[in-house]
Symmetry: C2
Subunit: 363 residues, 2 copies
């Protein structure tokens, strides 16, 4: 599998039920008991660990047909592309010799080697599928543990570099698109409720409080004292509550002020279609509104996955990789506008669904 084929495929998008869930992700942190942890290891030790891990992974089913590369083989743009696709952490991207990345063909599984821990196993699935994602990564975890000895304490569970991961070593997260809650100013109480239930919720693009593209990631805070199954069940229950809140906000807005809804979506469409320059922040907001339009039914179904891919393709490294040259911020803003206009060229303008008392079609 080549780098090119790696970056040009995207995971599927959930259509229909739970369309506001983009993806479910499980990440397991694992370390070998036989080698010093990455943060403690000297360079030769890290290289030795890396080589042993690579050898083992190559012999396993998950190593077959996968993309596997040491970090020193990437240039900085390639690294950034992988970060933008959430296949690699910023922390791993900052490393080089003795650190590596494995990604399977469908990009649903990836393994970071010698990041904060020896292994960061990641599994991603479209929609609300934490259990499916867990099963997939659990299989790989079992394969690896049959060949290598994990650092494990019968009392604490899996041992990790950072105490916050000790125990299951698992972080389960769900990516949600919550435009209706944002537009109706209901997002804050929902975030607060989720937080009180012991889960972390944060904006996806742009760390901190601000969420771009109305995207929010919900994940477990603690990895200790609860089984993987219990953590996943708890997250899914709370995510379903958030989904219901989003769907209610959407339904209420559509009922109370349908015109305002299509106006917002249609304006976003017009701006995305005709702007000549656009910042990343504005693009994410407008693409989010386009996605909302697809969820409501103003656009054909395929617009949903188009929006999800576009949110990645308009990131700085992707723009530069596609253009084949380094671009400064101003050039990127222009390239972003062109990329979007080209991508949505074939999408018809939003139309009120036929069930409405009055169908308004533009163009």
């Amino acid at each position: 599998m080549t780098f090119d084929s790696l970056i040009h495929t995207f995971p599927n998008t959930q259509v229909g039920k739970n369309a506001c869930v983009l993806s479910s992700r499980i990440r397991l942190a694992r370390n070998l008991s036989t080698h010093p942890f990455p943060g403690w290891a000297q360079k030769p030790q890290r290289v030795e660990t890396y080589q042993q891990i690579i050898e083992t992974l190559s012999s396993l089913p998950c190593g077959n047909k996968s993309f596997m590369e040491e970090l020193k083989e990437f240039d900085s743009l390639q690294k950034q592309v992988l970060v933008e696709q959430h296949l690699m952490s910023r922390e791993l991207a900052a490393r080089s010799t003795g650190c590596g990345l494995l990604v399977n063909e469908s990009k649903t599984l990836s393994i970071m080697i010698n990041e904060e821990d020896h292994f960061r196993l990641q599994s991603i699935q479209p929609g609300l599928s934490l259990k499916k994602a867990f099963r997939a990564i659990d299989k790989i975890d079992t394969e690896i543990s049959a060949q290598l000895t994990y650092a494990y304490s019968p009392e604490l569970g899996f041992l990790t570099s950072c105490p916050s991961n000790v125990g299951t070593g698992m972080r389960a997260s769900v990516m949600l698109h919550l435009p209706a809650l944002v537009l109706t100013d209901q997002i804050k109480p929902v975030l607060k409720a989720v937080s009180r239930l012991g889960l972390a919720i944060r904006g996806f693009y742009g760390e901190g409080t601000e969420s771009l593209g109305h995207l929010y990631q919900i994940s477990n805070q603690s990895t200790l004292g609860e089984s993987e199954h219990d953590i996943i069940t708890r997250i899914e229950r709370i995510v379903k509550y958030v989904i219901t809140a989003e769907e209610n906000a959407r339904a209420k807005t559509l009922q109370d002020s349908p015109l305002l809804m299509i106006d917002k979506v249609s304006r976003a469409y017009g701006t995305l279609k005709y702007a000549y320059t656009m910042t990343s922040k504005e693009a994410l907001t407008l693409i989010s509104l386009l996605r909302l339009g697809a969820v409501i039914g103003y656009f054909p179904n395929e617009v949903l996955s188009l929006c999800d891919h576009l949110m990645i393709k308009i990131q700085p490294a992707h723009l530069q990789l596609n253009k084949g040259t380094k671009l400064d911020a101003e050039e990127r803003d222009r390239e972003r506008a062109l990329t979007i206009a080209e991508a949505i060229r074939e999408i018809p303008p939003p139309a009120l669904p036929a069930v409405s008392s009055e169908t308004v079609q533009r163009d």
Copy 2:
């Protein structure tokens, strides 16, 4: 001439040189020496004055083929339509019996009867044509004065109800579209300079400081101590300075950041095309940007006059008259968006003129 034919014709728009001048207007205030001034007259006296004036105007060439009506014959919507077209002042619209309006077929001449003064003669011409406008109204003024005796003092000149009009009784004004000065933040010093030169400059829609649609009206402050010719010459000289400032601001922006210019215009186009609801204020701003695009050459020439007509057609009374029913504010906003989308449906998206090093075409 019927009311319908009156309101559905619009004056021409200047294309090419001085495209930022929408129109030139001369207004003369006149009173009869033989009748009490309107503000002083009792109702029977005002009616008598009105009848004598109507009789005289009917016998004059200007009364021929013109629209002529007493104010009591209009409903409030019709009055508002005429106000929006600047054929009638708000002050006249508030009156009824014994007050009237005369408008010629091309709407270049109008006479308000028994407004603040017995006569308010108005002449309007497209582009920078104060002299032509003055000649047209001067002819009518002469015709009337041959039949009726104006209140005139050899020392002061024409006597008017308000002392600010005494002398020539003339207000000469030019309507300017100054988007480039506004966009480049240069409008304030220009307005200040004009003001220091003894002229009044004000936003056109929305009294006060705020100018909607980037429209500004420059007019003389004083009517005393200067001949009509001198006033007009002075205004035209200062207006030419403002035109140059606008053209320089436009040229500089096009040279320094052509992308920002077409981005602004193209976004305005996209929003006007796809919005489902729009306030009057936003509509004027966006139509103004569309007009700027036409001046630059992003759009065909005819878009210029389309914009000028649209700025009138999206006003509240026009929307209701065209829809044939009373509309509340929310319904008007929706009707406005539909009216605009329909009007610009055939306009192709803005394109960088061919002279540019790189032609970018969307759609």
